[in-house]
Symmetry: D3
Subunit: 245 residues, 6 copies
């Protein structure tokens, strides 16, 4: 089974880390196709960056579908472009934020999200509300670590995230922690051991969910908002993305 | 006062109709700057189209801000790109969906939305939930009129919308109707007179809200998710959109 | 356009301050008719006071309607008597609490309300819930400043309100502040400058919303709970208020 | 134990019917003090009527408290004036709407309310939301029977209410019915027998709740919105209602 | 009237205390039948214990119904087995958690629950959500007093509960306190006097609610989930509990 | 990997069908251990049956854990005994209702549940509310097929379920269907093909979720309500279930 994991920013080092996490989570027999967007921001921090990350993500979804992917993972915790990707793809698409929230809900009555910058909190909170899982989340907290600091081995990023988890345990009393950035995907086991509670990483969670859906023969319903794009003219820079019949 | 109204699709006929509605709603002394995106889909029907409409919208926001606009209206009922536009702009930005929902809430305990295609219902419902106004909306209904049929004077669009309103009154018993597409902006008065209840158009509503915010000296808070985009590298097709310090 | 702004308590000094704020917010060409109730409490602090403020408010609504008002503002943050006023009036009626909540929602994902006495918190919270905007409000806080202290230039009212805003910023991290009393209407600009975030005053907000509704030709739906009062006998002190066919 | 039941409209025939229901529900040893407001509307149909019913209700609460009442029932299904009455009284106060909703919740997962006129639906719905019991109520339905028709033995009121219950059973499938008007208090047993499910009357429910609270020594918390009214000046017609220290 | 109060754990000392509280709350003419389960855990602390408490509770419900009970109280704050008991019994059944929440809602806009161990918090929170009263509850707090410590007069249980109430008043600012364990039933008056706000005990509350329902002739609706158990075979240890036609 | 799937009723034919579905969903290398409770009801239809199914389920959980199971599936759509099983087990436990709801949420914005008897609707609705997924479920519908009719090849069960799905599509317009009984596990593919939308079976869904959690090294948080049972005395029939240190 080929599972596509797309990093919607343009930073290849981050893709490499995501690939490792995805491969570790995958079942025997699964191959991971990890890639990143060819254009847009080097990291997604807030809705402005997110808006420019989607076209590149869509191009990768299209290519991976042509390559026979059994499903697609959007490896940005904001679930950037998830609706558009679902509309395009015939096979299931899962965002890592969504994946982490659902998996956490199966092992913890409540969880706290620890993300990067505080500007990402409203998007994460809105996603939780839309998915219905707001009541499971005690709080979305920012560690104020920028996304690309996570790629710098000399940065104090890990310790700052760990300190934020400690504050969460003291103030929010959650039953689990959800890591709120694809760039934290390598930290779950370490932080779980250090703090003594489940720590959920969305990349691994999403890979197993795609595998499960694929084995069950389930894919996105095309009845509602994720219906295939209607054929129509696209102008200018996006002419190449026009949906066709 | 210069109020910018941006049609995020590329159909100029629709911009022309939106301009008329905006000018009719504006206070004495307000000038309307109406434009449309230069690239992307000719109409926005579902999240795939929406994803490709945002960069062109952002370009127009930037230009209108430079031209001195006191505020911006995003003239797509899905409030496409609203978060990104708010992050960029210093002056207030309002989506016409949001505007219609808030204005309707001031004159009716409950309302029904009548939009174009059923594929738009989930986005509208999700927006209502995020804004907090789901409980005010009895139902989001689709007339199954395509957006561009509204630009065709020979289409049966108006009668189909009117018939859907009649069904809404019989089945949902709302106190008001919200028209769920910028392309319906010229129909509010006609349909209100025909059906005997308030019919709200988001274009006019948004223009008056921008005027109000501007007169009150209020603009988007930059504390949370609508903080100014961080300076960073953008790659490929979007290099020109990179936020700078 | 004549916009009626009614202070439902009997304190004329407060009306004077409200008039100034309303006139500053109004568009060119708008005339403000500001008045106060002729009977009832000198200030509204809790539901007991509110109950006795409504008949005097209604009398003023009736008179202003006869004078040709294009709409009415109820200038008490509890939105006292709003339902009754809407039922009576043909033209739109807006409470300043409601107006502030809706306007704040257009420029901030979240806000904190700073009101006068803690006994007003449950009414404000219940209003937020009814309007659907509870999730936008992080917290309703009391400064424990009595309403009429706001009319005393020698009172420490302003500093106590400012201190409460400082506590709100530290503890609630809202994106904006809503001032929770008509008597604070002159403080918004000062407190916004001092604390560096949007501070919303309901009086100005409500005036611009009435102007907007009036220009759009929208008024209260008479289909539901705001239907015109049925003709019937009223006894005793209220005989004069009996609705007639 | 003396239990006060106040009909906040001025129709004595309705008070007589309420007294009978209250006495039937009361425990041995309870005396019912039933009265009605001396001024205001002859029936409460919508928020305009409600606004003018409160001062007369408050006067009765004050008198009954002086007479030693162990608690007070507000016998209007809209729970008119409940907050003001609770603020004034030292002993518990319960509205019959609230009482019926809570009692229904103890014997049925879901219920439908059948009230008089459709203009009362928004108030009842708002009350349900404030009390937290919206999810228990499938629907609030209007029989379109005017309140005073219930006092006319020749009116078709009972059959129209019964027909509305039949429609509710077919369309809403509730587990119980709540009668939405004090004037229906004599119909619960008849309609329960006819339709084969629990039918709850708020007057009887409220009397037993007051008895329970009184035996438990519980009364209204004065910490929040129901704090005793502050001493202050009242002007004009309401001078006599001014709260004193 | 015979009111059955069942302690679903096997600790007779706790039953004795519950009996006293029930008798003090009961109206003249009511007889209390208090008993406890014959098998299962000596205390219910978390869902594992709860699961094994239900069969013994059901046996007591069956016996008390045969003895002519007018209704049944489940005297565990988790409302353990309430659905099963309601399905079996013809007469009303009320849990003491549910009873306390509803009674508190009639005298306080908000309350805090103080229970025994933190492992009980999720069950209590889930019950509040199901009943619809989550918004009334500011917080569910654990005193970390084990259930059977409440039966030990030398334990510091009372002081720890009192200290937790003090923390609740400082941090949550509730209008009332609900005691979250049947074993605290003797402490309500003491703690109310000490802390100066209403303190609600569920045992007394439930007894008065059963009396009220009985006098009103109301009992559990059999239309939905509380329908009488269908006749079917039960195997092994539970053969004796098989429902019969 | 050994995955335990427990049918909490005593009907072995149903276990056999569940085993087939579980094996079909499992990844290569997974072994299914399917069993059923040794005592209690032959089917679970409503909360009374559910209460007596839990002890037998717990015994099976204990045995399968001793046998090295990597996780446990509770194969009753009501998620019967899920909290108790989670408290006991060290490895993850998932109910098939919960599994189906979460998986459906990843491929459909909305779904309708089609279950057996209407008496099961309140439990399913309450579970949806607790999990946070009520807003995703348009309606829970009963086919009025008894659980054991699903084991009878000559019964009209399949056609009645199919007919209920057809009604759901016409009336609720969901994007997917969730089958609301373990006994329907063999029907998902057939009904999906017939009705042209995703049809989700909880047994397969839960197996893939257990596999995913196990591969990710995640298990139930023991911080809250699912903490290990405290050591204490159990009396009578349940002495053998007493938790020990």
């Amino acid at each position: 089974m080929l599972v596509h994991v797309c990093n919607p920013n343009t930073t290849q080092a981050m893709t490499a880390k995501i690939r490792v996490a995805a491969e570790r989570a995958a079942a025997p027999g699964t191959t991971i196709l990890a890639d990143e967007s060819a254009f847009g921001p080097v990291s997604i921090e807030g809705p402005y960056d997110a808006a420019f990350a989607v076209p590149g993500l869509i191009e990768r979804i299209r290519a991976a579908a042509a390559a026979g992917a059994a499903g697609h993972v959007v490896a940005c915790f904001d679930d950037t472009g998830l609706d558009a990707a679902r509309a395009l793809a015939d096979r299931p698409v899962i965002g890592i934020g969504e994946a982490a929230f659902h998996m956490a809900s199966l092992i913890a009555e409540t969880f706290t999200v620890v993300t990067t910058l505080s500007r990402s909190i409203p998007t994460i909170s809105a996603n939780l509300a839309r998915y219905g899982l707001s009541a499971r989340c005690v709080r979305v907290r920012a560690s104020e670590v920028a996304v690309l600091e996570l790629e710098d081995p000399h940065s104090p990023a890990v310790e700052r995230i760990s300190a934020e988890i400690a504050r969460a345990l003291a103030e929010d009393r959650p039953e689990a922690i959800v890591l709120g950035c694809a760039g934290m995907t390598d930290l779950a086991a370490l932080l779980s051991a250090r703090h003594g509670l489940p720590v959920i990483d969305g990349v691994g969670a999403a890979v197993t969910l795609i595998e499960g859906l694929a084995r069950l023969g389930l894919t996105t319903s095309k009845i509602g908002g994720w219906a295939r794009p209607l054929p129509k003219r696209y102008d200018g820079a996006f002419a190449g993305f026009a949906p066709v019949a």
